[in-house]
Symmetry: C2
Subunit: 147 residues, 2 copies
Amino acid sequence: MFSKATEYALRATIYIARKSSEENKLGIEEIAKAINSPKSFTAKILQKLTANNGIISSVRGPGGGFYLSSKAQKRPVRDILHVMEEDGVLGKCVLGLKKCSEAMPCPMHAEYKGIKQQLIQLFEHTTIQQLAHDADKIIPLNKPARH
Amino acid sequence: MFSKATEYALRATIYIARKSSEENKLGIEEIAKAINSPKSFTAKILQKLTANNGIISSVRGPGGGFYLSSKAQKRPVRDILHVMEEDGVLGKCVLGLKKCSEAMPCPMHAEYKGIKQQLIQLFEHTTIQQLAHDADKIIPLNKPARH
DNA sequence: ATAATTAAGGACAAAAATATCCTTTATTTT
DNA sequence: AAAATAAAGGATATTTTTGTCCTTAATTAT
């Protein structure tokens, strides 16, 4: 469904949401290991997600790393797709027609329509935080101890 | 959702289903033009779909071309995906985890599960013929006159 | 100030997907 | 039999995606 880059973006963001805070940032080494992705490639992706006040926050230098602000936690998962320039796939025609619409439907349009709507809804209404919480309920992560 | 190759495969197969018969075969030139795809690349894809008594039938030489047997018409759309080695995407984990399952769910598993099932059902239960008929109802094609 | 740490960014490499071209093979028509 | 037609198949080119490596910039600790 999505490119590897976007899969890594989703996995990384959710992992950061689960384990980091402004007081406890995560390094690229740990993140890539945890989500099982190539380190340097993942670094590029996090750069994208961090750029111009993006979804992920980052700080350089010792004690630095990546974290998610509580504001960012509340953003819909779709925002990650948008940064990765793949939010288009959600609304895209299954047969790849550029002009597929209600007025000019492709042969699969009627059959696929409902699923497409659910997909868009899912990514629009689900927040990063929700996924992080859901995941925590099932497989708790070692979170940093509070001071 | 699918690769270009698979999109072309779906479009081509549906077009052939709509316009061809054993008595009236279609050439690669016409098919590629009709579905707006690169000719030689599409030829490769049709080769795949034709190989070892596959979905599409073909005959070489004058009067030859591609067509769909009435038996092939009744096959599920999923068979096309299978030949293109992309039926995996239907059941795949959204986050790209290889071991995502009920027992070891990814953070999106619960949310995506229902959509995934619908997707599989759609491609499994919809036949090529159904799509061809649906499409004909909306935008009729110039079909060859019967003798 | 200097050294150490960590993300940012540029350049490059490898692999996969997409696309084209040319030759060969099968079939029909002349 | 020869010529013409149309798919099959091989070789190669182009583009995109994925991945690596090295240098630069920012920040902190010594």
